[in-house]
Subunit: 182 residues, 2 copies
């Protein structure tokens, strides 16, 4: 298929809230973009938020999709033996990658997965987020995921969905499920 | 890759609410499932809810993913020239397909896209929905999308996320966007 060049203004899209489906919806946007033969860049701010299922599935959508796992795993959970400095360094690396990928203007869709969480953990700063939004190429659709999107980001965004948890299997004692949680 | 057979109990998952991301999250689950080499069956109750981007993207995930477009287009909108009987017949065909696909027990993930809408429009009945839930194979993850999920379905479900519209580009006068809306 000939490359279907994107001509419209790119949107700033935010998937936030405490419910499941934020990263999953971003993944779904990748499928749609690949259908248009767009180039997609995914940058993960928190490693571990996408697991084997997603990664192997994404590989089947190659070569149009580039997945960059930059984060250093979940922060502050039981098996987190890394110092906050290690997490900050990883987030800074992810931030610099975002700016570099944006300036290449090579993509129609970019997903900054769990950026909201990285911001709330202090791994990146509000000023860095502002720089990312300011430098978004005109035609790029930029998707930011993660619970706890700040009001400033919501004000900037074109499309915001809050994924609200109505019912979660953990509460019924069902453990994390392959294909659903990872 | 060897087929990674699903052994856990399959969940009943509902994506509902007025915000964007319901069908998109279902699409994201397809990517994850394909990563595990699962077989996926998608049945659309309302044709037109998935457009070219999704369909072409899904094709790249073949042969594991089967997409069945059964519905007859949106109901009651301006260019809908079909009678309600035509829509009902299509929904009945979709319902019968669901039962047949379920009884084959050939899939790890099944997505019934916009079934909630088909129910609210009276294209399928509450009893038909109950039959679907009753006949779900033990290991199948069943995902039902569409705004307006009924309370009974939410009570039955293991995982329910309400996609809540916080901000939508239409409200800012931005038209439907390729890669986002279709």
């Amino acid at each position: 298929m000939a490359k279907d060049t994107k001509k419209e203004k790119g949107l700033l899209i935010v998937y936030t809230g405490d419910g499941k489906g934020k990263t999953t919806a971003a993944l779904g946007m990748v499928v749609r973009a690949v259908g248009y033969d767009w180039k997609v860049c995914i940058i993960q701010f928190i490693k571990g938020s996408w697991k084997y299922g997603e990664m192997d599935g994404i590989k089947k959508l190659a070569p149009n999709v580039e997945l960059n796992v930059v984060g250093e795993g979940f922060v502050g959970i039981i098996d987190d033996k890394k110092t906050i400095e290690v997490h900050r360094a990883a987030a800074r690396k992810a931030f610099e990658m975002v700016l570099a990928k944006m300036s290449s203007d090579n993509y129609e869709l970019m997903i900054l997965d769990e950026l909201n969480v990285a911001l709330n953990l202090g791994l990146i700063t509000r000023e860095e987020l502002e720089e990312v939004i300011k430098k978004k190429p005109e035609k790029l659709h930029l998707v930011i995921t993660g619970r706890g999107a700040i009001k400033w980001l919501i004000d900037q965004a074109d499309l915001v969905t809050e994924m609200k948890e109505i019912k979660h299997p953990y509460r019924k004692g069902i453990p994390a499920q392959k294909g659903v949680d990872f």
